[in-house]
Amino acid sequence: MSGLVVDTQACIGCRKCVRACGGTAGIVVENRKARVTATCTMCGTCVGVCPVGALSIEKDEGAGSQDLSSYRDIWVFAQVDGDVVAPVTFELLGKARELAAQRARCGSPCDVVALLPCGPLASSPVCGDGEGSGAAALVAGGADAVIRCRDELLAAPDARRMASWVCELARSRRPEIVLFGATGFGRELAPMVAAELRTGLTADCTVLAIDETTGMLQQTRPAFGGNLMATIVCPGHRPQMATVRPGVMAAAVPDPTRPGTVEDVALPAGSPVRAAEALEVLRRIPRDDAASITDAERLVVVGRGIGSKKALPLMRRLCELLGAGLGCSRPLVESGWLEYRHQVGQTGVSVSPKLLISVGVSGAIQHLAGIGGAQTVIAINTDPDAPIFGVSQYSVVGDCNEVVRELVSQLEAERD
């Protein structure tokens, strides 16, 4: 029987698991030993907090597990945004190359294949051939092969159609791994593909690696709402699928001399991609003001430590003086101080500025998931033990409003 298992020999009855489990009491300690109760949902939170490793989730392999040996390559879905391939695609290709090298080391060499759905040849330079085309950029960015479909039906970001296309290809060609950018579109597309192929999907991974003994893809993401990371695998189903937020992985330096093949595929007559679409886009409204903070070179990111909404004008003034964008932690969005587009982190945007000044942010794991790409982080916090100091290059222990007020007056003085 599958379930949470306690190694009673190892258990020391410390109750850490009970605390991690919380209100549902899925695990209790009796006679100094942990016991799993009927309300356990097998969420796994307690497994990570056990100091002696006495807890594990055991799983019987379902009958009818797939034959996995025929799956091979690593696919990257290339998202086309207007006339360019979205940057996250190249970040995924950079990671896919590393994964391919790891697979080769454990005796399973494979190719990195980019899937490029785009409009008809004449519709955009991205659909063309040779220099400046999407296919050429993908090869230069790390793809050994590009599978391209130039068809009007795939020109728009329509997740339902796109999912049908990816599924058809995946069923016949059997990729070992498929990676998607966790853009708005990718987060809609990838689960549709996973549901149809009946395979696993891990959202918003911050680390991807191959376990060189099993060859499996290890997918790591923040989990359980607390300050924990979880590593997730997909042992019995293929392809193994993951999404990664833009800005989390690093793209390789493009190499225009890299060899790579480009294969054009057509949509077969009876393809489900051709099914009538229930969805009609009536209007596109581009994001209005200020450029998104995703691409900002300098950022000021504010958290609950600024104390009140009244401190925001001061923070905005600092941004102005530095030519920086303004980001924030989630609680500020939840309480309506700033709009969602300012939110940095796992549930917000990932940023990769040259300079990030973090103001009154504790540095919760979900927040840190969004700032990994920043080059220099200066953090201001009253608490010398705040986790944000674990990732900052410079730590300023002090009251953030005071320090920022000083910063603003000194920068203003310099400007005059």
Binding site: T41, E188, G200, G225, I232, E277, V391, S395, Q410
Partner: protein
């Protein structure tokens, strides 16, 4: 009349971060779970459609028996009936196994509607994501399993008719206005509307209204596709990330600290 299903999840109350005194760690002891805030908005969307067009609104959740409390609260806020999928074999489900179980549960509701001659399902409303897991996968996975069209991240319902919805949704780089023919599944952000408080008659209905509890066998679920067994993904390790300690302290009073930061920024430029 339309038939609408809303999928809701119970989440630990502590992930609902509020702006009160600074607490630094997540302690879950003894806290009751609450409805995922995105799902509260999803319910409100469905109830407003019911008020405008006439509809039967069902709420469904997969969870522990205590989740009935949350379904009853949904009844108090305007839902007509609740279904809780609760059974040992459902436990340990990842998003694929969860969306499959919900699909089976919804199919059973549809069969009941068919029997009663009250039409078929036309709309499923889900929250965009759950605040505790944040995968945002259930909506699109469920839509695919139902064979429905799917519109994610809806932030405004502009027009609803029996045959179609016109909505505003968040997309990469802005917003999109789309029309989707029904049946369809939509996922909503919290901006879509503010959930109402229960009325007095609502509270009474919440206590007495119909909430069914169905097990895996009741919904005819394939045992190989639910719970831990039916979940392709598996957590192999959970850990607290290592903390690097390479941070250079900037000492002094606020004035001196600011001076040092300004100098550093000038050097970088």
């Amino acid at each position: 009349m339309m038939n609408v299903m809303v999928c809701v999840k119970a989440v630990p109350s502590t992930t609902e971060v509020k702006m009160d005194p600074v607490t630094k760690t997540i302690v879950r002891d003894g806290r009751q779970s609450v409805i995922n805030p995105f799902d509260a908005s999803a319910l409100e969307v469905a109830v407003r459609i019911k008020e405008r067009l006439g509809a039967t609104v069902g709420v469904m959740s997969m969870g522990i028996p205590d989740t009935q409390r949350i379904l009853r609260d949904c009844l108090a806020r305007g839902a007509d009936f609740g279904v809780l999928l609760s059974d040992r074999p459902f436990a340990g489900a990842d998003t694929l196994a969860t969306s499959y179980a919900l699909m089976r549960g919804i199919d059973k509701v549809r069969a009941r509607w068919a029997e009663q001659g009250s039409g078929d399902l036309s709309l499923v409303v889900c929250g965009k994501m759950a605040v505790d897991g944040d995968t945002a996968q259930i909506g699109p996975e469920l839509a695919r399993q139902l064979g429905f069209a799917c519109v994610t991240s809806v932030c405004e319902v502009l027009e609803a008719t029996e045959g179609a919805l016109r909505v505003l949704r968040e997309v990469d780089g802005g917003h999109e206005e789309v029309r989707v023919s029904l049946p369809a599944l939509i996922t909503v952000t919290k901006d879509v509307c503010n959930p109402r408080m229960p009325s007095i008659t609502g509270v009474r209905f919440g206590m007495q209204g119909p909430v069914d509890v169905w097990g895996a066998a009741d919904v005819g679920a394939d045992p190989g596709r639910i719970g831990l067994t039916g979940s392709p993904t598996q957590v192999v390790r959970s850990f607290t990330p290592e903390r690097a300690s390479g941070s250079t302290p900037i000492e002094g009073d606020a004035h001196e600290q600011a001076r040092a930061i300004v100098d550093m920024i000038k050097e970088m430029a």
